[in-house]
């Protein structure tokens, strides 16, 4: 047919052969259905390992508080990353967005003279707008988001440096609102943990129990099929970009609550760590499948490894190596899953 099939652009258009197969769900389909399985298993192993290596300190209330607080800061970005990856897109610029919006909130509330609540609202609007801009550029140019946000990562980073002139920017000390968002509650436990869990629950419901959530999975799994039944694929993806941006701003608020300040160089690893947490939590890099809960547990796992290595007396640079290895293992498992899913077309 010289015109080609209607709207068809699948790489597997021809030659897909059918192999005999039973309908009984295989282990793979169980993993697709319970994507958190892998990270739960990993958490169990890591907890056991560090309890043996650092028996008195690892499960102390202080350390659990510290792990959860670190998890909240990474994990809130991981929620956004998971949803965006499920929708079939990436945002590499999250770290720059995080630093930019944190510095914007600091400047607005101090030298800008705005009340803190207004500075916080502006800051979150800015971070959401940056996310939407990433999405708009990606969808408008039809360039893969991995590339467009690699570009915007540097753009926002440059703007961050320009805005801060390279210095730390602090919020007002002991500001009540900032304390509510991310203040210390004792035992290294910060209020950000509650916000993180709350946002996580909202995101889980949004993804699993709303029509929009269904569309997010669909545009990531097969955007053409979703469009063919009328799903506004572009707007759904734009939402995911905007939500990612919003959560980058929330993560910045957590840092402001914890430390009282933001530096332009903060967060440069945040995007990749958030993607790592999402992938460890069972989100397929190819889109269409994944879990917010898994991403949150992935963030806990990464924070746990960081803290456990310190307590076990290992030099902290092993953290990166460890997380890197886990990401590779997770991706290998996930890709073998998605490859087999693809083969089953």
């Amino acid at each position: 047919m010289q015109e080609g099939r209607l709207l068809m652009n699948s790489v597997e258009e021809d030659g897909a052969t059918e192999s005999p197969r039973t309908i009984r769900p295989s282990l793979m389909h169980r993993v697709v259905r319970v994507p958190e399985l892998m990270v739960l298993l990993a958490l169990l192993i890591v907890i056991l390992g560090f309890v043996i290596l650092a028996p008195t300190t690892f499960l102390s209330p202080r350390n659990i508080g510290a792990i959860l607080t670190a998890s909240a800061q990474l994990g809130v970005a991981a929620i956004g990353a998971a949803i965006l990856i499920i929708a079939g897109e990436f945002d590499i610029s999250v770290g720059s967005n995080y630093a930019f919006s944190g510095i914007a909130i600091g400047l607005l509330s101090t030298s800008g003279g705005f009340p803190t609540w207004l500075a916080v609202i502006f800051g979150l609007l800015i971070s959401t707008a940056i996310g939407l801009a990433n999405g708009g550029i990606t969808l408008g140019t039809r360039i893969p988001s991995f590339i467009t946000t690699l570009g915007t990562w540097l753009v926002w980073f440059g703007l961050t440096l320009a805005l801060s002139k390279g210095y730390f920017v602090a919020v007002k000390p002991n500001d009540p609102l900032i304390r509510v968002i991310g203040g210390a509650l004792g035992y290294q436990f910060y209020s950000s943990v509650f916000w993180w869990v709350g946002i996580g629950i909202i995101a889980i419901v949004l993804l699993g129990r709303t029509a929009l959530g269904n569309w997010i999975f669909a545009v990531g799994g097969n955007a053409d099929a979703a469009r063919a039944v009328g799903v506004p694929a572009g707007r759904v993806k734009l939402f995911a970009f905007g939500f990612m941006g919003l959560l980058a701003g929330v993560s910045a608020l957590f840092t402001l609550g914890q430390q009282g300040s933001m530096a332009p160089l903060y967060g440069q690893n945040l995007a990749l760590q958030a993607i790592a947490a999402a992938v460890i939590g069972g989100t397929l890099l190819t889109g269409g499948a994944g879990s917010v809960l898994g991403a949150m547990l992935g963030a806990v796992l990464m924070s746990m490894i960081n803290s456990g290595l310190i307590l076990a007396g290992a030099p902290t640079f092993w953290y990166q190596t460890f997380v890197g290895a886990i990401v590779i293992i997770a991706v290998v498992i996930n890709t073998s899953i998605s490859r087999r899913v693809a083969q089953m077309k």
Binding site: M8, I23, A226
Partner: protein, 250 residues
């Protein structure tokens, strides 16, 4: 369904389509009655896809008329065609593999409870209704929560066809639904086509395999060089005849 005077669901009269100086279709006419399966056959480039894209609302014809249930219509968009009940099942585009059957079935038509700006899924209703529809069209052994990736190719086609029927499809356009399927899977798809046909749904089937298309179609419309070369009742033409006609068209 189908109580209109001359009994046509779709009629195209003297349909033409030019792309610049290239004539893709010239005076193509045929009819589709309720509950009728039309096999649209022809060599690559004969104009089958152009005709289909016009009927689906993707292309506007350069000339000719489309009658839908005996009323002349102009299709503005694929959405317009879909709203009338002209539904296309694409081979690879039909379903999202990573989602369950029920979530695919109700994609963009999810039963929901509205709460503020959010529409919460009625998951139970989605699963129950999907199970009911699957039984209705003769697929008994599938659980609605099964991910589509776990289905065979034939089951996927069956689910996709069942969905278009359920959402008011009166004319299903199937673009090579069996091209990647085994004999057994093909039989499964054909049995679903028989099911929806019995419910009064019309089908236009594009198919390269003459044995398959002759098996399932009531009438065969042969397109050649952008025009209708012949319009045969199944009983008037054999598979060998069809193959000879197509070979002669090269």
């Amino acid at each position: 369904m189908g109580n209109n005077p001359n009994g046509c669901r779709l009629e195209v009269r003297n349909l033409s389509k030019r792309f610049g100086s290239v004539v893709a279709l010239e005076n193509v006419s045929f009819t589709v009655r309720p509950g009728e399966v039309i096999g649209l056959v022809g060599d690559n480039g004969a104009g089958k896809s152009t005709a289909i894209k016009i009927i689906c609302g993707f292309y506007k014809p350069t000339g000719g008329t489309i009658l839908w249930e005996d009323k002349a219509i102009e299709l503005d968009s694929p959405e317009h065609a879909r709203a009338l009940g002209i539904q296309t099942v694409y081979q690879d585009l039909a379903l999202v593999n990573t989602l369950s059957i029920a979530r695919n079935f109700f994609l963009h038509a999810e039963p929901t409870h509205r709460l503020g700006p959010l529409r919460f899924l009625d998951v139970k209703q989605m699963n129950d209704r999907t199970a009911q529809i699957l039984r209705d069209i003769g697929i008994k052994d599938l659980n609605p929560t099964t991910p589509v990736s776990a289905l065979s190719g034939g089951e996927r086609q069956a689910v996709a066809i069942g969905r278009t029927y359920y959402f008011g499809g009166k004319l299903l356009i199937l673009d090579e639904p069996t091209s990647a399927l085994s004999v057994k899977q093909t039989q499964k798809v054909f049995s679903i086509i028989e099911e929806v046909k019995a419910k009064g749904v019309s089908v236009i089937l594009i198919e390269h395999n003459m044995i398959h298309v002759h098996d399932i179609a009531d009438r065969l419309v042969v397109v050649r060089h952008g025009s209708v070369y012949g319009d045969y009742a199944k009983t008037d033409v054999s598979v060998t005849d069809l193959e000879r006609i197509l070979a002669g068209a090269r």
